[in-house]
Symmetry: C2
Subunit: 178 residues, 2 copies
DNA sequence: CTGTACGTTCAAAATGTTTTGAACGCAGGG
DNA sequence: CCCTGCGTTCAAAACATTTTGAACGTACAG
């Protein structure tokens, strides 16, 4: 294979690995995804292990993770008992998968915790000393800021997730933050 | 201090620590930021080390990182040679700081690498065997997808960064992805 | 039924990251 | 000038994550 093609392949895979790490995934996962993305044909576990020079065990585990994240799909090749994988090459689909299964949970959890805190602070009203009462007020303000932040994040998320095929920012228009 | 207030303080700090880790920062950094955010008064390095039960060295290093990220500011307290810090409590300002110094660089780097790849592939045109030429075509397609992705990311980023005081999604309206 | 070619698992090893604390430097007070 | 109280630094230790590879299970071919 031509040297320049190899160079392009390598830097793309390295870049996607970097990106993956950036998004909080294992870097190898990113490299596996990148390798598949830059392969015109589905690849077997052994192909992947050979190309990236990593152990087969690692490939096995990471590919299953990629599958769970909706970033790669198993491909059936008849007359071959190997497993073949192909990358989900619609990047918007990948983003949507990740946002919907990971970021959404995270935001919802945060909002829930903050809601609990507000309740706790309000229910504490009576039993507080004057100094504590002032502190509770302060906490409520800060928590309100956090809630505003996560609420915007949630709206943005749901909008991106609601869009199909293309990301459509129209519906996010006019979110105002105090 | 009231038990409920302590609980709220703890869970908020833990949550912000978690969020920080999520965003690719050290978790301690997040806890330090959270501690400051939930403190009505600026705090000294020793205060922070004591409250979080971590070493002073760690506080020193992490606070300077927080300062560089624009997440915390040093506060001058007269008649005291200690350093005091306060959190930047405008969360949108924090986001803007992070986006503009970290994510923007990352996106620009990615676009640059992709651009180089395209050039390399085009310049390789003549010297390629028919099979390689086909592969080069394939690479160009995939790279175009990646470029589209990062370009949208860049537009979104610049829009958020361009907004002042409040995040204004109006200008991001109608970004279409092929 | 047996052998082979695969994928999976997981404990141990390798590697990477974070935390600590002792050593140091520096400023100000006495 | 020396002492004290502070912040900083960085090597070593503690800790966490990732990677490996040998052992195992399974399915299929012969």
């Amino acid at each position: 294979m031509n040297e320049k093609l190899i160079a392009v392949n390598d830097s793309t895979i390295a870049g996607i690995g970097r990106l993956a790490r950036y998004f909080g995934f294992a870097e190898v996962m990113g490299r596996l995804f990148g390798t598949l993305l830059m392969s015109p044909e589905p690849m077997s576990l052994d192909d992947l292990a050979a190309q990236l020079e990593i152990s087969k065990g690692s490939v096995s585990m990471n590919m299953r993770a990629l599958e769970r994240w909706g970033m790669a799909k198993e491909v059936w090749m008849r007359g071959d008992r190997k497993k073949y994988y192909a990358a989900e090459h619609d990047l918007w689909q990948v983003i949507r998968n990740v946002l919907s299964s990971r970021e959404r949970r995270e935001v919802e959890l945060a909002l829930q915790v903050l809601g609990n805190s507000v309740e706790k602070l309000q229910s504490a009203g009576d039993e507080l000393s004057p100094a504590d009462r002032q502190l509770a007020e302060f906490y409520l303000e800060r928590i309100a800021d956090l809630q505003a932040f996560f609420t915007v994040a949630q709206m943005a998320l749901e909008t991106v997730l609601g869009s199909d095929e293309s990301v459509d920012f129209d519906a996010v228009t006019k979110i105002e933050i105090g």
